[in-house]
Every structure is written in C-alpha cells, then in structure tokens.
C-alpha cells in the first residue's frame, strides 16, 4: 500500500480543465492542458459523476452499491484503486480530511 493512499473519509473532487463527453455509454475526457485523452469506461464514468462536488470514497461506495450488484467491500477496493489512478493522472483533487 502506498503512503499517499486516499483515506476512506477523505474528500475527492474532479479537477477542472477537462472536456467531457460520452462514447457508447463510456465517459471520455480530454485534458485541455496537455491534450491527453482518457476513457474512464462506464462505471468509471459514473464514479466521475459522483465526485462532481467533493465526496468521500465511502459516499461513492454507498451510492454504487445501490446501483450495481457488488459487495461493499469489493466495491470499496475497486473505487479506491480507480481513484488512486485518477489522482496519479491529476484528474482529481484530494482533500486532507
């Protein structure tokens, strides 16, 4: 586990500066700054929508388990890993609390 793991209750929010659209149900984005394209996929796109305003991993998981058939523990693991990736790419801002 890396030291900069996002805490379960820590708040995450979308970074600004991306053009966002959908292609066949999948969320695609373009960084205005560096011209990089991202495909977040379908569920990743849903996670993206859920962090439009600051939300915790727990908030996101609570919502996803009502929308998809998945165990909370497994969901939390996947959401955390996904958000770590978004963080590494600078796609989200992570708060301290």
């Amino acid at each position: 586990m890396s030291v900069d793991m996002i805490a379960l209750s820590g708040l995450v929010v979308q970074s600004q500066g991306y053009l966002v659209s959908e292609m066949n149900g999948e969320k695609v984005m373009l960084s205005i700054e560096n011209g990089k394209y991202y495909n977040l996929g379908q569920i990743g796109g849903r996670v993206w929508e859920l962090i439009e305003s600051p939300a915790s991993i727990q908030d996101v998981v609570d919502r996803l388990v009502t929308e998809y058939v998945i165990e909370p523990e497994e969901c939390q693991r996947q959401v955390r890993r996904f958000l770590q990736q978004l963080k590494a790419e600078g796609l989200i801002q992570v708060g301290k609390e």
Binding site: L19, M23, N24, L30, Y37
Partner: protein, 289 residues
C-alpha cells in the same frame, strides 16, 4: 464586391447569411492590441493585416471592413474560410477541415493536414463522376438521429501540382490568392446542393510506404483525428465552444467509422485512393486492405 464562388439557389425563401461590406478604413486595426482575434459582446472580431477586419455575429451576419487598396481575392479568402467556420460554430454546426464527396447518396469526409492531398483526392472523385459536397470546410449538423453535411460554395482549392497531375492547365484558372499557389476551379456542375447524411470520415496522411493503405481507427483515435481536423479549432476556446465541439466529435466518433488512409509521399495516383475509398464503402466492415 462580387462573390464569384457563390451561387444562387432558385426559389430560396430567405436569406441565410447577410454580408455587409463597409467602406475601406485606414484605422481598422485600432481595436486589436496584440491578438488578431477577439470576442466582443458575442461578436467574433478578426483582423487580417493589410486586408480587412471581419465581424461575425449570431451565425447570420458578417461585416467586412477592408483596408484601402486591399487585395479583393484575399478579402474573399478569409470571408469564405475563417468567417464561415466561425459562423458555423455560432450556429452549432461542426466545421471539419477537408473535402466531402458523395458516394451512393452518402457523404464521406476527407480530412487531413494542409498538403495531405485532400483537394487533389476530391478533384479525382469529381473526375470519376462522384459529386462533391464541399472543399475546405465541411459543415456537419448533428440532429437527434443523424449527422447531416450541408453543401458549401461550389469551388475547389487546388494546389498547383494537383492541377497538373489531373491534366488541367493552371492558366485556365484564376489564382485565388497571390501568395499561395492554390487555384480556384469552379465545380458547379459536379456540386451537390442538398444536405446528405455523413457516413464516414477518412483522414488522409502522407506516408513513406510505397503503396496506399487504409485502416479503421479505434474510437479514441477517431476522436483525436476529428479533434485535430475541426476547422479553426484554435478559436473554439475564445468562442467558448470547446465543450460543445468535444461532445459533437465524440458523438461522430462513436456513431461513424473513422479511417486513416495512408498515401505515398511521391508518385501516388489520386485515382488509386478513390478506389480504396470506394471499396471501403462497398463493404460494411473493412479494417485493412
């Protein structure tokens, strides 16, 4: 000023675009400090040194104020180019940079960088009997259930070399802009005048390979190609149209095939490329040929 590139549509009910030509002025550039583009109260203003200042508003109105003694062909070049591109964006019509041909009632857009051979290829299509939809700016209107290409003015800009390759003689055509070796070739007879559905996009690319080849892009690659070849894409930000443009090209790239057509840098035959594209339209799914 006369616009020889334009043509009249019989029975047209209303005027689509109004172009005002103001008297020449010496001080037209005064309102431009560093950049030659700006937006003022929703009007798009654009300055071409030694030529004119243009104002494009509401997707319907263009005003031109030339410099005294400015070259008329050059004034027209920007009027039919950048101004029309901006006007389309204001109307919510996506402008792509390239040529469009009609094959079996459907439109194929040929996009690519300057010098890729778009106009030459379009001219070859015209010679082979296929109607052209437009050259230079492809106007794509996205409706709920279709992407329609609207016809543009009936003219082709051709590089001098292409004219020679096609066996036309350059002295027969007037140069549209003295500093560029592009020529205006009227194509009235082979010009399609009705809006037709867009069926695919072909990006034409110069390559080192000896033979032409065509390949389907995946969706993100297609998205990128459409982004790069959006006409005057550097102005989208200024016009606050970036998000709209991205959504438009995402829709096109998810609904329509985008291909890359590589053509040899030298000694290529535009008619071979026509064959490649025609073969493509005859099969539903072609990846590599």
């Amino acid at each position: 000023m006369v616009l020889p590139e334009g043509f009249e549509i019989n029975g047209m009910q209303s005027v689509d675009v109004e172009i005002d030509l103001n008297p020449p002025q010496d001080n037209v550039r005064d309102s431009f400090e560093t950049a030659n583009f700006r937006v003022d109260n929703g009007r798009f203003l654009f300055h071409v040194p030694e030529t004119a200042v243009y104002s494009v508003a509401d997707g319907t109105h263009i005003a031109v104020t030339p410099y005294p003694g400015a070259d008329e062909a050059k004034i027209r070049l920007f009027l039919l180019g950048t101004c029309m591109g901006v006007l389309l964006m204001q109307r919510g019509i996506l402008p792509l940079h390239g040529s469009a041909v009609v094959i079996d009632g459907k439109v194929y857009a040929i996009v690519g960088e300057s010098g890729a051979g778009k106009s030459t290829l379009a001219a070859a299509f015209a010679r082979a009997g296929y109607p052209l939809m437009t050259d230079d700016v492809i106007a794509v209107a996205l409706t709920d259930d279709a992407a329609l290409v609207h016809p543009s003015y009936p003219q082709q800009k051709l590089w001098e070399e292409s004219i020679e390759q096609l066996g036309l003689h350059d002295r027969d055509y007037s140069s549209i802009y003295q500093r560029v070796n592009k020529y205006a070739v009227p194509i009235r007879s082979r010009f399609c005048r009705e809006a037709l559905p867009l069926a695919g996009i072909v990006e034409l690319v110069k390559s080192d390979a000896p033979e032409p080849s065509i390949q389907a892009y995946n969706r993100l690659e297609g998205l990128h190609a459409l982004n790069v070849h959006t006409y005057r894409n550097s102005l989208l930000h200024l016009m606050n149209r970036q998000q709209w443009q991205f959504q438009s090209i995402a829709r096109l790239a998810s609904e329509l095939p985008v291909y890359r057509l590589r053509r040899p840098a030298d000694g290529f035959s535009a008619f071979d490329l026509v064959d490649q594209i025609i073969r493509l339209t005859n099969k539903r799914e072609v990846v590599i040929s």
